[in-house]
Symmetry: C2
Subunit: 563 residues, 2 copies
């Protein structure tokens, strides 16, 4: 995290010096009984999904969604604010629980070095969370690739379903950044070694199984969704599903532990569920519905986070996730940093060190748009300024004045530097907003809308664009979606996270743009239509100097080089 540039203690140092409570104590504080959870080491647990059933008559806590402006290279610290807000709510005497996505090993070994909050607002044990954790991602990788193996084996063993090897839509996955696996040919080497065909690997977070795990309400729902996954077309052009291969039972078996939400704690011992982690472009980008619902049952406030900016993560949370989970958010926290707003105002990363009110003023448009989005959903909101040490008093004052002038509730967050203590103003504002502001939550579109109308509504009401344009390929796919009755699914738009438009260079608040729809893809198990705009990378590459080069283990077995 760029925040770490001029302070003494690194995230991993802070995390390794934390005084953790045994996970059983965290579970007890939540009112869980010993039979509700299983330990994974001393500081991690899986809480059984059956607990939700047991608590079904208990009223739900308030769900607080944390989102942000469009990300910039300056960093927004959305996870840090999410964790810090949870800590701060506890500080002001509220019973709060946090729900976050699990980090992916690919980016951790590649660029990011970890993702579990930052500074004094982290979930711990951060080394475990950033590495194999409780094995959920490995289970998903295994189930995904087992399905691919069953599919290729079906073809090899005579292909009774007449699967067309040129029309297989199920790829393979690894939880790594590995560009060399994006496009491969498999099945070479002669008769006993499979049928040659084109294939490719995505990163595990892009697996439909990841999305399914995060949208399922129980083990049966998981199995049903798995059985509905579209994997190929046969020679007659008809879709082939997992249920046709009869392997949904085996896949569910491989996921039977992964479905239980993982319980950890923050540096200040606030309970946190860290569970699931789908992409926020080709998937819906938030932690499991089960973790959110369980957290809301166990806490009076549940703080969760959606991926990327509000145009991607929050939109999907509000149009897809809340529908799958049958719950309603109580408030949305929109995170912005002065640095990032200045970048939206046209500055380069190098120019950020100097005060620049004009650039900040120009950048406010990006924040404006996301605020309007949340209003379109009928939800109360709060702007959270994630404070950086370089921010000047005049810049902070400008931002606060701008919010006041426009009637936006705003609070400064210093949780990275101070932990929960630095977020009490924000926490109080959030509690107050939930208590006093009207909540008229409604998704942006109806499921009964046509696919085109759904996309059009998101483009107009969320992105602030005008038209939509389908490629001829997408038009064809649209027809097939209608013919197969998939057009009643919500849409999951995969778009660059850097711009409200589909052009990553258009920062700030672009106007009068058209969204170009390159391709449609149905995730029939997850239950959404992926709308691809521009090119979306589903398997990242490694940089010239991967973060892994700095990683090691010391003589006592402690991790080095995660941050």
């Amino acid at each position: 995290m760029s925040e770490a540039s001029n302070v003494v203690k690194s995230d991993i140092e802070i995390a390794q010096n934390a005084e953790l409570e045994p996970i059983g104590k965290i579970a007890s504080k939540l009112g869980l009984e010993d039979t509700d959870w299983e330990p994974y080491g001393r500081y991690k647990a899986k809480v059984s999904v059956d607990t939700l059933n047991k608590l079904k008559n208990k009223p739900d806590g308030k769900v607080i969604l944390v989102t942000s402006i469009n990300p910039t290279p300056a960093g927004e610290g959305k996870s840090t604010v999410t964790v810090g807000l949870g800590q701060a709510l506890n500080k002001i005497g509220k019973n709060a629980v946090i729900a976050l996505r699990e980090p992916s090993l690919g980016p951790t070994m590649g660029l990011k070095g970890g993702a579990a909050g930052g500074g004094y607002a982290q979930v711990v044990p951060m080394e475990d969370i950033n590495l194999h954790f409780t094995g959920d991602f490995h289970a998903i990788t295994t189930a995904h690739n087992a399905l691919a193996a069953f599919l290729d084996n079906h073809i090899q063993q005579g292909n009774p379903l007449a699967i067309d090897p040129r029309r297989i839509v199920w790829k393979r996955v690894l939880d790594l950044n590995d560009r060399a696996l994006r496009h491969v040919i498999i099945g070479l080497g002669g008769k006993t070694n499979g049928v040659p065909r084109e294939d490719g690997f995505d990163i595990t977070v892009a697996s439909e199984i990841m999305a399914i795990l995060c949208l399922s309400k129980d083990l049966n729902d998981l199995k049903t969704r798995l059985s509905n996954m579209l994997i190929a077309y046969n020679y007659e052009g008809r879709p082939v599903f997992v249920r046709d291969l009869k392997v949904e039972g085996a896949l569910t078996l491989l996921l039977k532990d992964a479905i239980h939400p993982n319980l950890v704690q923050t540096l200040e011992n606030t309970p946190a569920f860290v569970h699931g982690g789908p992409f926020a472009n080709i998937a819906h980008g938030c932690n499991s519905v089960l973790a959110t619902k369980l957290g809301a049952k166990l806490g009076d406030y549940l703080v969760t986070e959606a991926g990327f900016g509000a145009d991607l993560g929050a939109e999907k949370f509000l149009d897809i996730t809340t529908r799958a989970g049958h719950f309603k958010p109580s408030v949305v926290v929109i995170v912005a940093t002065i640095r990032a707003l200045k970048m939206h105002g046209g500055l380069t990363k190098e120019e950020l060190k100097h005060e620049d009110i004009d650039a900040l003023a120009r950048g406010m448009e990006n924040l404006s748009c996301h605020i309007e989005t949340i209003k379109s959903f009928g939800l109360p909101y709060v702007v959270a300024i994630n404070h950086f040490i370089f921010d000047t008093d005049r810049e902070v004052a400008y931002l606060k004045d701008w919010c006041a002038a426009n009637g936006h509730p705003v609070a400064l967050s210093k949780v990275w530097e101070q932990g929960g203590e630095g977020g009490t103003e924000l926490a109080a504002l959030v509690v107050d907003t939930i208590a006093h502001k009207e909540n008229l939550f409604k998704p942006i579109y109806e499921l009964s809308d046509s696919v085109e109308d759904k996309i059009q509504k998101v483009v107009t009401k969320v992105y602030g664009g005008n038209g939509i344009e389908f490629s001829s390929k997408a038009q064809k796919q649209l027809k097939s979606i209608q013919q197969n009755g998939w057009d009643k699914f919500p849409v999951c738009i995969a778009k660059t996270q850097y711009s409200l438009s589909d052009d990553p260079k258009l920062i700030g608040r672009p106007k009068d743009f058209t969204i170009h729809i390159r391709e449609l893809k149905v995730s029939a198990g997850a239950g959404f239509i992926v709308v691809m705009t521009g090119s979306v990378l589903t398997m990242p590459g490694l940089p010239k100097h991967p973060a892994a080069l700095n990683m090691d283990v010391d003589d006592r077995g402690k991790a080095i080089g995660l941050f």
Copy 2:
């Protein structure tokens, strides 16, 4: 297991009805303190490798190695006898611990449906052990593929080490049976998607990292071995190692939890370490040295198992594993079944139901050879007849008489049917043999022997063959091995498990045969030379009807279809 054909309860039914003790109780019985281990669920734990250091002044228990005749389709039940013998030793009042390999998901989903003993001699929780367990294999898969990604990224980013993409010897792995991935082309799709080259996937148990994890004596040794792995040659023909990429730290970090042995229990609450699982052909085929040493520190008797027959598993245990672990076995148990011996005597699987003393008599030659092998190593031994319900009294009597006439200690094992109670005769014989028979253990060859001499000694003294013949490819590789100073490593001969020769059809005890050496491969990190005879499949395929088709989860989350 074929043993289950005419009884009421399946392995999984027996396992699911077992009365397990909390793993903390098992740990306490072993004298472990709470800080020595971490729970993984209620019935699994990882015991810290540091415990070995703490106990270094405690005398070691006796190591009992369980091996078998050459496997046949009839099944030998070596794991079952291993688990049952541990249980039986406890029944007769001894403090015994078991050490086993972890099952691989590939064969579990493919043919076998599981591998954790059988009947009333199983390690539990069998569903966990057969599925993701504590994530060790997933960690190995991840470390292995991360290294492959770092390697391809090095080439993509300018290739400063001048790695020749045609001479990369590091493949990728998955813990699945997936024949379509045996031979692939990666790096397609243009400039940003890697450098095109031939590649392939092995099953995770074939990874050199698996072998290394199982031979390492601590975390530092693990890192050193990882850094020494040979991954490619450069354009000048010089070897490139992991240390040249500087990623041994990151790989060690990914394995920092996997190195700790996993503690579980048997159906009768006997402590069992289940840790690691390398192939017994291209690798050394037994559980981790750390698990064996830890078990021997904590118990007075440690029962462990080596893969396949004594020609493969036991030979490698005695020539490779004991050297890496600096320990000495006390006795070898050679498992045979009357059914398998009859198959070595020429019967088909269908003909096994009928009593056939002549076939049995002919088959004894196979057992004879393995007994002689163990004698060549200077070790005391016991023959264990793993009793099947079809065995007739006359057949059992013949086998016992044959052993008596030839001076071989023998005992009947009924542990599959009766648990520990059915193995007390065997247990008593094992204890007695350790106490009273001379142990002159010595590996078959010296490390200072030439590579050819090492192979020749194994072929003559273990396989009972005559000559060895190097392909021209192998001759070239031998030169390179000598030039690089790798010729002082032990040899790890990859040969069919079905025959003492390199021809799987030559059952019984073939004579006057030559072993054909197709290829040599150095595992410079694990520290052995893999000698390939015939073709060895390092990525299994799935059968027409994979075991996975019968797998499922019931409404209460319980596994179905593992056996």
